[in-house]
């Protein structure tokens, strides 16, 4: 997978902003975006959550959810063994049913990338080909509190180790302090660090950590900022802060992506992460995506779920459909 090239991203940003992306220009631009109708947004999200998806549509949705999952382990206690078992699960989610699709990617800390790639072996590749990508969190995840040099080194190391996708966190402190230029420059610099020697580039997911941005207006501004700076994906959360992904926030980010697509023709991905544990919730997200940006977004290069326990619930639902009776936690793996 290759991301957008940096030069065109910066040029486009300058064209959109009408000037260099410094604090003043970005502030003028981002604060000029219309405010979010919070009540309307939450009502719309709640309305989308009431759709009833049954039988064959549900079956399709469950399989598609699996294909869109970034199977994640981001614990301080992660070991190479834990990563290997995660990869085994990603490659073969349900050993009792060979028709189960594979997940899109595994998401691990940067130092675990080599173990993930080794464990994936021939299954490592582009999710479009039925293979599994390796995503690495970088830039002093989850807090993002480190100097730029360290963040870039963190990113470059993960890319050099073979990560296909980089999940970076923005500097929420700088964003909330109004230093939009700094946030822009950091994203642009990390984007540059995603470049590989052969000229291709790892895909960049920009984590907004919406739980720390406080208001919907801030989420909308951060989404625009991240896209302007060259992010290929915007991601809601690290999963370490509550609230993590919520349906209204994801809807809001999808609307930004839709508006960006209308304005520039470029497709940006969205990744809700954290707190999506049930198939029922995940299906609500699929509905929201299809209704906001269209069904073409329901593919691994444009939409992902950051999740770990969601996969088990989806597998239980699949087993229920296949067998006709309710399944239980004893019939899926513990992690």
């Amino acid at each position: 997978m290759s991301g957008t090239s940096l030069v065109s991203a910066r040029e486009r940003a300058i064209a959109v902003l009408g000037g260099e992306p410094d604090d003043a220009t970005l502030r003028r631009y981002l604060h000029g975006i219309a405010g979010v109708d919070a009540v309307g947004l939450e009502q719309r999200a709640a309305g989308l959550g009431t759709r009833s998806i049954k039988t064959s549509s549900k079956q399709w949705a469950l399989d598609r959810i699996i294909e869109l999952i970034d199977l994640t382990t981001l614990e301080g206690a992660d070991t190479p063994g834990k990563v290997r078992s995660l990869v085994a699960k990603a490659v073969n989610p349900d050993p009792s049913d060979a028709s189960t699709p594979r997940v899109a990617a595994v998401c691990v800390y940067g130092d675990m990338v080599p173990y993930a790639i080794e464990a994936l072996g021939g299954a490592h590749g582009d999710p479009d080909d039925g293979l599994i990508s390796v995503a690495a969190v970088a830039t002093a995840f989850p807090s993002g509190r480190a100097s730029l040099d360290i963040k870039l080194a963190d990113t470059a190391e993960a890319v050099a180790a073979g990560a296909d996708e980089i999940d970076m966190v923005i500097d929420r402190g700088a964003f909330l302090a109004g230093r939009y230029g700094l946030v822009f420059d950091q994203i642009a610099a990390v984007k540059e660090a995603c470049r590989r020697p052969d000229g291709t580039s790892a895909s960049l997911k920009v984590i907004l950590e919406t739980g720390e941005l406080v208001t919907y207006d801030n989420v909308r501004r951060a989404s625009w900022l991240s896209i302007l700076a060259g992010g290929d994906f915007i991601k809601t959360s690290t999963g370490k802060v509550a609230p993590a992904a919520t349906l209204p926030v994801t809807l809001l980010m999808l609307e930004v992506v839709r508006d960006w697509h209308l304005a520039t023709g470029q497709r940006i991905g969205v990744k809700p992460a954290g707190g999506i544990r049930s198939s029922k919730d995940a299906i609500k997200y699929l509905v929201t995506v299809a209704e906001t940006v269209g069904e073409e977004w329901l593919q691994p290069h444009l939409f992902r779920f950051g999740a770990s326990s969601l996969l088990n619930d989806v597998l239980l639902q699949r087993q229920k459909i296949a067998s006709g009776h309710y399944s239980g936690a004893d019939y899926v793996t513990i992690d």
């Binding site: 087993q319 006709g324 009776h325 309710y326 399944s327 239980g328 936690a329 004893d330 019939y331």
Partner: protein, 286 residues
């Protein structure tokens, strides 16, 4: 001037809450003379599913409590039952159409039975467990452990006593329970649930479904997250096929009982829902 009647709608008891049926269905509970008594929830398979989820979540806490603590909690329920005996007597009188004396006798026996089982909570393991003789310098000890989630079709021809006789023994060892109440006499079961909700029993340990056992039982019998199935009150159902369904996931199954001695108090009812764990431990050679 007479007061306006306030008929009660009896709801389900799932995970410590009293939800209506997910399906929105209810059915009329009639008195012995055919007059309307109350509306009760007509549980669906999804209510059964939710009840199993709640029961599963409660297993670790309830089975992890000390046996002494479980005994205290169960005994406390008997105390609360005693305090609300007038309500239970009146309900049984109305629903079963029996005399006040017969209803009182049933409540008395239910409370006594509950106390009897509560007493076994911290004594059962001594009786059912064992220190096994082995030819070596080892202790070899067998202890009964709860099997997990027990689904129960309670006796259908009794309102309170049948429910207590089937549910109490499953709780003693530390299982959590999904009980399908008597279809004809469901009111006492839900009233008992109201007692449980205000006692110290953790939420989800007992879940009560009202409605048609014929509709709900097959879903519980085939549910892979249910560990045991008590068919004591399923005599009128196609219980053989329920047993076959249960065999697919290796459930422990108790067969239907009928007659006045159905679900009589017995250690066997406690033991039926336990798994024997045997451990070896080295003996000191001095």
């Amino acid at each position: 001037m007479s007061r306006l009647a306030v008929p009660k709608t009896y709801k389900l008891y799932i995970g410590g809450a009293f939800p209506r049926s997910e399906s929105g269905r209810t059915y009329e509970v009639l008195a012995a003379d055919g007059s309307f008594l109350a509306n009760a929830a007509l549980a669906s398979r999804k209510d059964a599913r939710d009840a199993v989820v709640a029961a599963r979540a409660a297993v670790s806490g309830w089975s992890g409590a000390t046996a002494y603590n479980r005994g205290q909690v169960l005994y406390r329920i008997a105390e609360l039952l005693e305090g609300r005996r007038a309500q239970f007597v009146a309900e049984i009188e109305e629903t079963e159409g029996v005399t006040r004396a017969a209803a009182s006798a049933q409540v008395d026996e239910a409370i006594d039975r509950w106390v009897w089982y509560a007493g076994w909570a911290d004594k059962f393991a001594q009786v059912a467990g064992n220190a096994n003789p082995v030819a070596g310098p080892y202790f070899n000890i067998s202890v009964p452990e709860p099997t997990g989630v027990v689904a129960i079709v309670v006796p259908q021809d009794s309102s309170l006593l049948g429910f207590v006789s089937a549910v109490a023994p499953a709780l003693v060892a530390g299982n959590s329970v999904v009980a399908v109440a008597s279809e004809r006499f469901p009111l006492s079961a839900i009233s008992l649930a109201e007692v449980l909700a205000t006692s110290d029993v953790p939420k989800g340990v007992v879940n009560v479904l009202t409605g048609s056992p014929a509709e709900i039982a097959p879903w519980l019998a085939s549910h892979a997250d249910v560990n045991a199935l008590d068919l004591v009150g399923a005599g009128a159902l196609d219980w053989v096929s329920l047993e076959i369904d249960a065999a697919d996931t290796l459930k422990r199954v108790l067969r239907p009982e009928s007659g006045p001695d159905a679900a009589a108090p017995a250690l066997g009812r406690i033991a039926a829902f336990t798994e024997t764990k045997t451990v070896w431990h080295t003996k000191s050679l001095r």
